[in-house]
Amino acid sequence: MSLALQTFSTVKDASAALQAAGARYLGGGTLVVRAANEGDVSLSSLVRVTDPSLSRIAVSGGKARLGASVTMAAVARHPELNALSPAARAVGGPAIRNMATVGGNLFAPAPYGDFTVALLALDAIVVTEDGEMPIETFLTGRNASRAVVTAVAFPLPAAESFRFRKVSRVKPKGVSVLSIAALLQRTSDGVVTSARIAFGCMADRPMRAKAAEKALLGCKLTSKEIAPALAAAGAGTSPITDPIASAWYRAEVLPVHLGRLLVG
């Protein structure tokens, strides 16, 4: 197997090189080098960019911007990104977290993509060489995307409004049965005024739980009041089947874990 690595100092030059057939961007390499090791013949060259701005984390005015090459470990240890730390820590073991990038996670197929589930609930903007777009639009079109992702940007959530849960069988590190992130705004007496919920492993890539979001509006987070939201949780999902869990199992346990996230 031969694989050529091309290194560029600017995103612009890398983008041009990525247009060639068989060329793929190299982030941390945890998926793409693994594919090469497994003999993926569709890969003939890897393209990487050394521009240090891709590894920059900027937090100001309640907003965060993470360069595409920022690693899960860098997010997990950043003092101003505490809200995102559980999602970053959910990715792999320590060595994987030192390598796995934010940009690569946006492309990770289920059962991976736990961090992207959090970004989807936060309504992040994905910045690419070709312009910016909401993460939902990005995820829908990602298979056809040939542009280099340079950053993601999102408003930092208040600690009490953002929740994340990854369910796995092996502790502390295991592949997801599913993951859930929720951004909830509530009145002072606890009534939900807005809800944005994202699921991982409930489709081939992270997805919004729009029916559950709608059913939560006007509710307090009690077992009784969230029941309609849990009943609606499975709407539109098509969970994956893999060695960790079958689609049936994932569908069965989704409302249980959503309930724990909301009430717990």
């Binding site: 197997m1 031969s2 694989l3 050529a4 690595l5 290194t7 190299l26 941390g28 390499g29 945890t30 080098v33 693994r34 090469a36 090791n37 497994e38 890897l46 990487r48 470990a73 792999g92 073991g93 320590p94 060595a95 994987i96 030192n98 390598m99 502390p172 590190k173």
Partner: protein, 160 residues
């Protein structure tokens, strides 16, 4: 296939080699440089046997391309013993029966070393977390966890 130069520091000494583009660091270390302490268990990132320390951080050499390590400072288990004296972690693994077939051991020791470098007195939980990317098919993990804790105790006694 064109060969490309790679140059880095391995366990304190300068290495320069020509490798085929796309060669993993694991293959470069084992097949070119002759450091066979990192093991190739899965080449998929799942076993941790290939773990090495690059610029102070634990990484998987099977998923790292050698060309991306230009100028890096790389440490492997082969470089731990000094003057024929085993590193406290190596000593603790031997004394505590934390190594059986030994295939996972160099990766376990690298993962434990980055932990102890940052957290000299780790809790059991810290150790479990630090080793969570490393698979052992022999020991059942408990002796490994105990060995890391005992190496930490030995270190702190030496310092005190």
């Amino acid at each position: 296939m064109a060969k490309v130069p790679v140059q880095f520091t391995l366990n304190g000494s300068e290495k320069a080699e020509f490798v085929e583009s796309g060669t993993t660091l694991l293959n470069a270390l084992r097949d070119k440089i002759g450091d066979t302490s990192p093991k190739g268990g899965c080449h998929q990132g799942t076993c941790g046997a290939c773990s090495v320390i690059i610029d102070g951080e634990l990484r998987l050499s099977c998923l790292t391309l050698a060309e991306t390590c230009g100028g890096a400072n790389i440490k492997t288990t082969a470089g731990l013993a000094e003057g024929g004296v085993l590193h406290p972690l190596q000593r603790a693994f031997l004394d505590g029966f934390a190594t059986q077939c030994g295939f996972c051991t160099p990766g376990m020791i690298m993962a434990a070393k980055v932990l102890l470098d940052r957290t000299p007195n780790p809790s059991r939980e810290d150790v479990v977390e630090a080793l969570s990317g490393n698979v052992c098919r022999c020991t059942g993990y408990e002796p490994i966890i105990q060995a890391v804790l005992s190496a930490a105790r030995a270190n702190s006694q030496n310092v005190a």
